[in-house]
């Protein structure tokens, strides 16, 4: 099987950068979300469409990022 329709984009979630990487494999879309800096994975989902996969991955990433506290330096 070959991955197809590869895409990569970065969105802003409450001041955090999130990278969405999406591709189609065997008829389904796979999407991961990472936090760009440093690049740790936040979500990995599979869905029927690219839009659904991105939306689900973004929802998981948003929920996790919402728990991140910024501390005074």
């Amino acid at each position: 099987m070959k991955p197809e329709d590869y895409s990569e984009r970065t969105v802003d979630v409450d001041g955090w950068q999130v990278r969405l990487i999406c591709y189609q494999l065997d008829g389904q879309y796979r999407c991961t979300a990472d936090n760009v800096s440093p690049g740790a994975n936040l979500a990995r989902v599979t869905a029927e469409t690219k839009e659904a996969a991105e939306s689900q991955a973004l929802a998981i990433a948003t929920e996790k990022l919402g728990r991140t506290k910024r501390h005074a330096v």
Binding site: M1, K2, P3, E4, Y6, E8, W16, I21, Y23, L25, D26, R30, T32, D34, N35, S37, P38, G39, A40, N41, L42, R44, T46, A61, K64, L65, R67, T68, K69, R70, H71, V73
Partner: protein, 288 residues
């Protein structure tokens, strides 16, 4: 050509596509999230879990020599096998595996430049069935080479002496103390900040957008600006030692720094240690 000092430790995705199933080659995907491997991997690649197969699960440590030999034998890897490692997160955990294989003296281990992301972005073949290894016996690991691993006492001495360049490869916000773990991950330390005097060089600065390593000249300029040269002792650290094993690989093999150690205790050790000095905000090294 990128003109790295040790170019033989890096292979391209093209090379892997041509040689992945060669008899003397074993390709291994290393992830922290093994769902990535199950989703699809380089045809013929084995999958190692960083969490359960490349760490001692009872003591915070790398594998013992005996555990490492067992993993090699179960993976069908002999002392003469060419092992090519790749993984997600731009090869962070692959670099950890590389570092550990070098600790136990494996001669021919290489990273696939660009890792899993590059392979997929190029639309190359993926296989979902788990690759079954053909176990062997008789793998002989060397005694651990601790010249490439830093333990806490050595880091404390080096920090006080100031003769070693300490490289913190976490994100700028982790370095400053604004956040206590990468965004979205659980906080894993009691104090934020960095080891006093450490230089901030996030690991990703060594990579291009496609995940491949920057050229020798670009890397030399990046790390040279922090006072690093081939003869300068260096200790790299991050949060748990995987991002810093990536930087360790860059410094040791691509730039040829002779004395570079990965401090795998990293911030989850230093940032939880009673009495350890912590610096917040910008580095005193940068202010100096």
């Amino acid at each position: 050509m990128a003109n790295y000092i040790r170019e033989e430790v890096l292979v391209s995705t093209d090379w892997v596509a041509q040689h992945a199933k060669d008899a003397e080659v074993r390709v291994v995907e290393v992830d922290v999230d093994t769902a990535a491997y199950e989703e699809g991997h380089v045809p013929g690649a084995l999958g190692w879990s960083w969490r359960s197969q490349l760490c001692n699960t009872l003591v915070r440590d790398i594998l013992s020599k005996e555990q490492f030999e067992k993993l090699m034998n179960e993976s069908g890897i002999g002392n003469g096998t060419t092992v090519v490692i790749y993984g997600d997160s731009n090869n962070w955990f692959a670099a950890w595996a590389f570092w550990q294989m070098k600790i136990y003296g494996h001669a021919d281990v290489r990273l696939m430049n660009g890792g899993r992301k590059k392979w997929i972005s190029e639309g190359r073949d993926l296989e979902t069935a788990k690759t079954e290894a053909h176990p062997t016996t008789g793998y002989h690991a060397s005694d651990p080479d601790l010249s490439i691993r830093a333990f806490l006492p050595h880091v404390q001495e080096a920090q006080k002496a100031g003769s070693t360049v300490m490289i913190d490869v976490r994100s700028p916000q982790e370095f400053s103390g604004e956040i206590l773990a990468p965004p979205g991950l659980p906080e894993t330390c009691q104090r934020g900040g960095h080891i006093p005097g450490a230089h901030s060089v996030p690991w990703g600065k060594a990579c291009n957008d496609d995940g491949t390593f920057k050229t020798y000249d670009e890397l030399l300029a990046l790390y040279g600006a922090e006072g690093i040269h081939a003869g300068q002792p260096v200790i790299a650290y991050c949060r748990i030692g995987e991002r810093s094993s990536h930087t360790w690989f860059v410094l040791k093999y691509l730039l040829g720094v002779e004395d570079v150690k990965n401090y795998d205790g990293s911030w989850t050790e230093w940032g939880n240690l009673v009495g350890a000095p912590v610096e917040k905000g910008a580095s005193s090294a940068a202010k100096a």
